[in-house]
């Protein structure tokens, strides 16, 4: 199975919406790759810089509640995918965004608020690895290391294993 995890970037705010992740004006692009430079372009977050190296290196996004609310655009998932991000960890997700992640064979993992806070407290340079055999994530940062268990719905896991919903549906329906 594909490996999930890597350097993480923290977007420390609730309710980050799809227009902030990828603005509507880029929805006229007809390839996923064309979205790459516009990741999180309109994000309103103090101290966040969409052009920083941290974002270029990130494989994991760590964020708060109701991530990906707003429009149904799968572009919000693709813009992460083409930038090398494979996992989003949040307190909670908007339904369509979460479904789009699994439909693309990517991971949307929910942790409790205090667990997210403890990971954020690990410092600026955090790396998060996901183990899909044990359903655990391990976060390493300047001040230590933490391991948390997460739950993954069995159908969502099947989608990740299949490489997405299209492959799964084509086989089963």
């Amino acid at each position: 199975m594909k490996k999930f995890g890597g350097p993480a970037i923290c977007l420390n705010r609730n309710d980050i919406n799809t227009d902030e992740i990828i603005p509507a004006k880029y929805l006229t692009e007809n390839s996923k790759e064309a979205l790459k430079p516009f990741i999180l372009e309109d994000l309103k977050l103090d101290g966040f810089d969409a052009k920083s190296n941290k974002l270029t290196d990130a494989k994991v996004i760590l964020t708060r509640a109701n991530f990906g609310c707003g429009s149904s655009r799968e572009h919000a998932v693709w813009v992460f995918e083409v930038n090398g991000i494979n996992t989003v960890i949040a307190e909670s997700f908007a339904r369509i965004f979460r479904q789009n992640m699994f439909n693309c064979g990517m991971l949307a993992i929910e942790l409790a608020r205090d667990q997210i806070e403890k990971i954020i407290d690990l410092g600026d340079d955090i790396t998060i690895m996901v183990d899909l055999d044990t359903n655990q994530i391990t976060a390493k940062g300047g001040t230590g290391e933490l391991t948390f268990a997460f739950t993954l719905n069995s159908f969502d896991r099947d989608l990740v294993v299949a490489g997405g919903w299209l492959a799964y549906a084509d086989r089963n329906y």
């Binding site: 309710d15 919406n17 227009d19 902030e20 603005p23 509507a24 004006k25 929805l27 006229t28 692009e29 007809n30 309109d42 309103k44 509640a65 109701n66 609310c69 707003g70 429009s71 149904s72 655009r73 799968e74 998932v77 909670s92 908007a94 339904r95 369509i96 479904q99 789009n100 439909n103 693309c104 719905n153 069995s154 159908f155 099947d158 997405g164 919903w165 299209l166 549906a169 084509d170 089963n172 329906y173």
Partner: protein, 428 residues
């Protein structure tokens, strides 16, 4: 244990249960527009899967940017047009016949009680007004929907929204839903079907119910839903009259979708609307809502009346109550986009378009227009729009612009005053 309307619709459409929490549903309608569908079509073509499960169950419209504004949007329209043609999709609405998807498809009678409906558009929840389960989905779900006629969902829990009292003059469904979102917050209904019930719903037209269900997604809801009744049957009668002998037969048949008295709801929310004041958003989230009286005096540069939320004839009639015989304030640009050709024609016949034009409004063709800042009506940085649309996200109507969501009455009042103001003063 009884069942909710959503659970009944799920039970009647279950193709598969891939896990205890998930269900794969058979779809009655797959709707498509030119922003989210072309990329799905390109992918299906690239995979050698350029097929559709049933051309009669796929409904297609070009509505977001129409007429096309540049090469990219013209290409999106062309991909959709060519695809519809080669796959034998008859219900395809192009320039001259097109309008905002969530206003146009109900008008055509495509949505019926008990249906399952998906579209690559978050405001698909609008169609729940007919007692259907209708949900926005992403591109991959759309591809599978087009190809296989199925979509996966988690088992639906419902939030019962019980609306009591009667709406005071000067308020409408828009004020009700803004108030609900304010109380629930932007994720108060996440993963839940919002079932709207109570005497306020019973008294509402289909147009108002659509306005209400349209914004369920702004509280995170999977779908807004109303129980199908006489109002639903009357609206649909031209399309269903061959199926039933009398209107009462249709109403009785619709009853099979009604939630049982002992159905289980995960949450319940009650609101008495009798003292409701017009509601307006103030920030970049749809739950940042205040009474219009607290927003009094906020200057606006543009007023936009239209969209799938409030671009129907009822909305235009409401706004015209204030616009008729008055002028736009000198500092304000006014844009009216009737949501569909039928709305446009009706407004023309009733003299409403002429009233708007006499007031100084620009009347556009039916389109999403300024709502998502992709074609016309884009704001300059720091400009402010009083809008009847459903989303006030940062950058939604143009980078650096501010959108205040409100009812058609409140938008019309802002148009003539040049600032946000209480519409009720114009109704005396």
């Amino acid at each position: 244990m009884g069942m909710t309307i959503a659970q009944k619709i799920f039970a009647a459409h279950t193709r598969d249960n891939p896990s205890a929490d998930n269900v794969v549903l058979d779809l009655d309608v797959v709707m498509c527009h030119e922003i989210t569908t072309p990329i799905a079509i390109n992918d299906l073509v690239a995979r050698g899967m350029d097929r559709v499960f049933d051309p009669d169950k796929i409904k297609v419209v070009i509505d977001h940017v129409t007429p096309s504004k540049d090469t990219k949007t013209a290409t999106q329209a062309k991909i959709l047009r060519d695809w519809a043609k080669r796959n034998g999709i008859k219900d395809f609405f192009d320039i001259g016949a097109n309008g905002v998807c969530h206003a146009l498809f109900p008008e055509k009678g495509f949505i019926r009680p008990g249906y399952t409906v998906i579209m690559g558009d978050s405001h698909t929840c609008t169609h729940g007004a007919f007692g259907a389960f209708a949900a926005g989905i992403g591109t991959t779900d759309l591809e599978v929907g087009i190809l296989k006629g199925v979509c996966s969902f988690r088992m639906p829990d419902s939030l019962l929204v019980n609306l009591t009292g009667s709406l005071p003059d000067g308020t409408s469904a828009k004020d009700v839903i803004l108030k609900i979102i304010k109380e629930l917050t932007v994720n108060g209904a996440t993963d839940l079907v919002m079932e709207f019930r109570g005497p306020v719903i019973d008294a509402m037209s289909m147009e108002s119910r659509m306005t209400l269900c349209n914004m369920a997604i702004e509280a995170g809801g999977t779908c807004g839903i109303c129980l199908p009744d006489r109002v639903t049957a009357e609206y649909l009668w031209p399309f269903i009259k061959d199926q039933y002998v009398t209107l009462d037969d249709a109403i009785a048949d619709f009853h099979k979708w009604h939630s049982d008295a002992d159905a289980h709801y995960l949450k319940e929310f009650k609101l008495d609307v009798s003292n409701l004041v017009p509601q307006v958003t103030f920030g970049f989230k749809p739950d940042e809502v205040k009474d219009v009286t607290e927003m009094e005096g906020t200057l606006v540069d543009q007023v936009y009346i239209g969209s799938c939320t409030n671009g129907r004839i009822e909305d235009l009639r409401q706004a015209a109550r204030i616009i008729n015989g008055r002028k736009l304030a000198d500092s304000v640009r006014g844009i009216l986009s009737p949501a569909t050709p039928a709305v446009y024609n009706q407004a023309l016949a009733e003299g409403i378009l002429q009233q708007f034009m006499a007031a100084g409004f620009c009347v556009t063709n039916p389109t999403c227009g300024a709502c998502l800042g992709m074609s016309n009506g884009v704001l300059a940085p720091d400009e402010v729009c009083a809008s009847t649309t459903n989303r006030n996200f940062n950058g939604r109507m143009g980078k650096g612009g501010m959108v205040h969501l409100m009812s058609p009455l409140s938008a019309a009042a802002a148009a003539v005053a040049g600032r946000i103001t209480d519409p009720r003063q114009y109704l005396k």
